[in-house]
């Protein structure tokens, strides 16, 4: 049995966060003695599950849902898989979007790099697109 301070140290999670999780119902079996929280094996396990699922980018409400399903046993495998499947698709899209963002940023960096070297932006605007670095051409076209 651990106190909240001990758990906080073990997992490197602020005490306030643990209390918050408790308030949100993530430790349904948490015991208390004279008002003080006593974290047992089950609660530690619950915390590990929270940490792990947060790692996979799930929101707390999804973590809650997952825990509900998990306690219902093998009849909810499908629900759980769908949860992860959906999240997987969302993450894939996020990555794609960030990669587009990265392209734009590459262009911006190239642009200001050149402006710094030239001392002006004017030359860039006068450049013929086919004189641009290949890597930059496509980006250039989408901005002008």
């Amino acid at each position: 049995m651990y106190t909240i301070g001990q758990v906080s140290q073990m997992f490197n999670i602020p005490i306030s966060t643990l209390r918050y999780y408790d308030k949100e119902g993530f430790f349904p079996n948490l015991k208390r003695s004279s008002g003080i929280r006593r974290f047992g094996e089950q609660d530690i396990e619950a915390l590990k599950v929270i940490e792990c699922l947060k790692e996979s980018g799930l929101e707390l409400k999804d973590v809650k849902q997952f825990i509900k399903w998990a306690t219902k046993g093998s009849s909810t495998y499908k629900n759980r898989k769908e949860l992860f499947e959906k999240r997987k698709i969302a993450v894939e899209q996020e990555i794609k979007k960030l990669q587009k963002t990265l392209n734009i940023l590459e262009y911006k960096c190239w642009y200001y790099d050149k402006a710094i070297k030239d001392g002006t932006e004017d030359k860039i605007y006068k450049m013929l697109p086919n004189k641009l670095p290949t890597r930059i051409q496509k980006l250039y076209n989408s901005f002008h």
Copy 2:
């Protein structure tokens, strides 16, 4: 000259958002006639800059900073480049993190796929790591 409603339609941005940008000072040259906003060329340009910089994942306060620098001319090329450079690094890290997340999700999907096929999770726990699909082995090791 356009009204807020026209700009809203042209850019497909809610009117409330345009008012919000105005309140935040993104249209320093916005004119009004009898209280009503009149968007001119400059304001439209400002809006395009906002849209573009948001595309590159900048926060509004960075967009604001950028606009300040941009109005100061060529002496701020370096600042502007640094802004994008920093953002680029941040985005690269975000992508890396999401790719880790994706790995976890791949594992989770595989796990529940197998659990559904087997009707139980028990078999997975009894599997020898080297019998797992190669793609999964590394993930398995980091979870058990």
